[in-house]
């Protein structure tokens, strides 16, 4: 019926747009417009792999972090794992613990900032939950209405998480301290103590504020579902019913066990592996069936991406690609991202994939703070086995708490390990050493999903580098067979109300209990002076489309476009 175009989609990383073709459906009670087909436009290209050609292989740790300033730490980690593999060295147990601490602290920041600053606002508004609405009334609003209370605290807590990264990595974004076979930072008593102090504070906030926010959202979502179902005349479970993708989830696993590193390396060698000794496992969940991860089942398609068709359907690291393969004006292409597939199937990657591959559809986790010995029980049954906005939010909050716990466990463990093992594998003789030849894969997870780096070393320099990153999996376009990517699929069926955000809120929450006003009116008063009365509205031929729910779907995948579109693989021409 209509073509609704939103560009830029803000509160994500990078340059993303979406086109949504709508159709009208009659619910019996009213006629509504929903998304029929969606197209994800990734709008930036930089060519990182080209830039890496011919450089010192170790420079990849620094340069690939700059692919994305939101998730630099996982890029650095994956690059270093590929280097470990190519150097044929394993990091020492001390180094594994330090790397785990850096990455886990980084994860806490990322999951929290995404939950509260990026995806949270629409959820807080629809669910009438002030702590997750941005502080539109400033400090006074935080004090009197709790409007944005968690939002504001999150800024403080994410910063503390990054202070842990800086303790061990020099700074964040773009930490400095990982090296093939280990790390370059020493496990001093001071660093361990400060890590424990900061992690304790973070843990308490995750357990007492973030987890409660999640439960509150879940409860309020039930009220929204009842009222929405009543309003539309069809069963609608609100945030549990929007954002379903294909039901296939892929995880590479993260946080190896320092005592069982052989299990970790198997996946890099290309063997079928679940990486069960790690905190998060690897595998492919295909609508209920869990299979081990096999590296060589990954291929990329480019029919709708701005590259020449001859590279389509190949394993990413086997593609002979040069500058000439970039096709800026390719007809019918609508994205810079490619379309990666696993076993030929579209897979969603990210926090929910990690939880489902590791814990299945029902999570029961008990977490004890090793410093204070407080415990919390986390229980969550996945509300939509094909994924939903609320399940993705839940996965992030649960993982933030899980990793905050792990940071402390590892810091305690590190005290004993530090005296026993060096920080770098003794096989690395000095800072001049680079092997003449080698080839390595790094398989890790960024917060937004599965991340692969591949490096091939020839004559001590990079002959070929390739990254397959989470946002190409999630935000990529259709593949050669016409199957839409996870976000494109997840947008299908999403309702685009023909009302403004305050009007929708007034319908869902008719009680006049916010300063004597309805929720929608109170919101309108708060956001209108900021010029935001028309927020999330797009007009097509005079008709109004409210894109709030669609944007919540897109954001629930935590898009990171800088990652998704840097990609281009190259081999040195012979």
């Amino acid at each position: 019926m209509a073509k609704v175009w939103v560009d830029p989609i803000t509160r994500i990383e990078g340059h993303l747009g979406a086109t949504m073709e709508t159709k009208e459906i009659d619910t019996g009670k009213m006629k509504i417009e929903v998304v029929d087909k969606a197209y994800s436009h990734t709008n930036l290209f930089r060519g990182f792999e080209i830039i890496l050609r011919g450089r010192d292989p170790r420079d990849a740790f620094y340069i690939t972090q700059r692919i994305c300033g939101v998730c630099p730490a996982p890029h650095g980690e994956t690059a270093v794992q590929a280097l470990d593999h190519a150097y044929n060295v394993t990091p020492t147990p001390t180094a594994v613990l330090i790397r785990n601490i850096i990455q886990a602290a980084y994860y806490v920041y990322d999951h929290l900032i995404h939950t509260y600053l990026l995806v949270g606002p629409e959820i807080g508004i629809v669910c009438k939950y002030p702590p997750m609405v941005p502080p539109a009334l400033g400090k006074e609003g935080i004090r009197t209405l709790g409007l944005g209370s968690s939002y504001a605290q999150c800024i403080d807590i994410q910063r503390k998480a990054n202070e842990i990264v800086a303790l061990w990595g020099g700074k964040f974004p773009h930490h400095m301290s990982e090296y093939p076979g280990g790390v370059t930072v020493k496990p001093t008593g001071d660093r361990i103590a400060q890590t424990l102090t900061k992690a304790t504070e973070i843990w308490e906030w995750c357990a007492n504020v973030a987890l409660k926010d999640l439960m509150a959202i879940k409860e309020r979502n039930e009220i929204v579902s009842e009222r929405l179902s009543e309003l539309l005349g069809i069963e609608h479970r609100a945030f549990a019913d929007i954002g379903a993708s294909w039901g296939n989830f892929l995880s590479y696993g993260i946080f190896p066990d320092p005592e069982n590193y052989e299990d970790w390396v198997r996946a890099q060698d290309g063997e079928a592996s679940f990486r069960r000794s790690a905190v998060i496992h690897s595998g492919s969940w295909q609508n209920g069936e869990l299979k081990p991860l096999e590296r060589d089942k990954i291929v990329e398609y480019v029919k709708y991406s701005r590259y020449k068709d001859e590279i389509s359907g190949k394993k990413p690291w086997e593609v002979e690609m040069t500058n000439d393969v970039v096709w800026k004006d390719k007809p019918n292409a609508y994205a810079w991202a490619k379309a990666p597939r696993y076993e030929g199937k579209v897979h969603e990657v990210g926090p929910l994939a990690r939880m489902i591959v590791t814990y299945g559809l029902n999570w029961k986790i008990e977490l004890t703070n090793p410093v204070t010995e407080e415990s919390v029980k986390v229980e969550w049954s996945v509300m939509n086995p094909k994924g939903s906005v609320i399940d993705r939010v839940a996965s992030r909050i649960v993982q933030a708490l899980l990793y905050a716990t792990k940071i402390m466990e590892w810091a305690v463990q590190l005290k004993d390990y530090a005296s026993e093992y060096p920080i770098v594998n003794p096989k690395i003789p000095d800072y001049k050493y680079v092997p003449n030849e080698g080839e390595g894969w790094g398989l890790w997870e960024a917060p937004r999903g599965a991340l692969l780096h591949y490096t091939r070393i020839k004559n001590k320099v990079i002959a070929n580098y390739c990254c397959v990153v989470p946002s190409t999996w999630n935000l990529g376009p259709r593949d050669d067979f016409g199957n839409p990517g996870p976000v494109e699929k997840a947008l299908e069926g999403c309702w685009l109300p023909n009302m403004s955000v305050p009007e929708v809120c007034n319908l869902l929450w008719p009680e006049e209990d916010v300063l004597g006003m309805k929720w929608g009116d109170a919101l309108a008063n708060a956001i209108s002076p900021l010029g935001l009365a028309e927020v999330n509205l797009e007009y097509v031929n005079g008709a109004k489309y409210n894109t709030s729910l669609a944007l919540a779907v897109v954001r629930s995948f935590d898009p990171c476009i800088a990652c998704g579109v840097h990609t281009i693989e190259l081999k040195v021409r012979k």
Partner: protein, 352 residues
Amino acid sequence: MKLSRRNFLKLVGAMGASAFLTTYKADLVKALEEVKDYWHICWLNGAACTGCTISFAQSADPDLVQILTEVLVGNSGLPIALPDYMETIHVASGTLAEELKERWKNSKRAKILIVEGAVQDEGFCTIHGKDFRDHLREAAEIADYIVAVGQCATYGGIPGAKPWDGEPNPTGAKGVQEFLYEVGINKTVINIPCCPAHPDHIVVTLASLMLGVVPELDKYGRPKVFFGRNMHKELCPYRPYYDRGIFITKPGEEGCRFKMGCKGPICNTDCAIRKWNNGTSYCVETNICIGCAEPGWPDKFSPFYAEVTELPRVLGVGAETIGAGLLGATLIGIGIHAVRHLGYREHKRKEE
């Protein structure tokens, strides 16, 4: 003393954002009283990784909420002032986001343009169907102040780097100042490099612009107050090791990082004393400096683990022909030190 361009360096020195804002709070309030408005910021992202935005969000004192609710609101009466345009944190998307940018262009109060990310050839970065180059050109034409944050926006950074196999840069990426000259806009860009930009550097620069003071800039457009001193010569806490000839060559040792490739000797930045993430640490404490505050980064500073004296691309010439400029002087300095180290070792041997 009233802050001016002339005394900026002396008065501000190593002040953090917190100290700066406390010291000049009265002046800021006074400067804002004239117009009942907030500070109009347009934050554009080009070929960026968003690391500078995230770094800005690590600002500790004031933190992001304080900046939005206290610093930027000015005398507008609003409880909170968001940048008029900023893709990563703004509430509005799509058409409204672009409308708010137009509103920024029409605001009567000082318009600050912040740019994150490099500028590429046409067709590699589009926002709302329009090339980033056009977005930037239009905004730069009417902006009162232009601030480039991070390596990419200042000097092209990694998106502007060249592959090491002789191929050209894939997208023709460059810094904002270079782009503006190219399209005939003769305005000064305040360059705040580092990868990412330091939140203190951003906040202090913004606050001084609010006072109507443009900090004194060096020949690369960087505020001298932050980038006027050589890290190795003047600020590095590991300098005593260097003076005594104690160098790390293997992972896990303790000493000066020079021989593992530290770029401190050719890097001008105050990282070593300002530190990062609320004063927690800085690069050299856990590894090396890779020189990200300097134009020509990363290419002239790669390989990152190569000693300064062995860099193949410094000053765009082979190492054998180095002999002039800043680096030449530094190398002579290093030469003198090497002699001194020998003397020190001799001396030590005699003692033993």
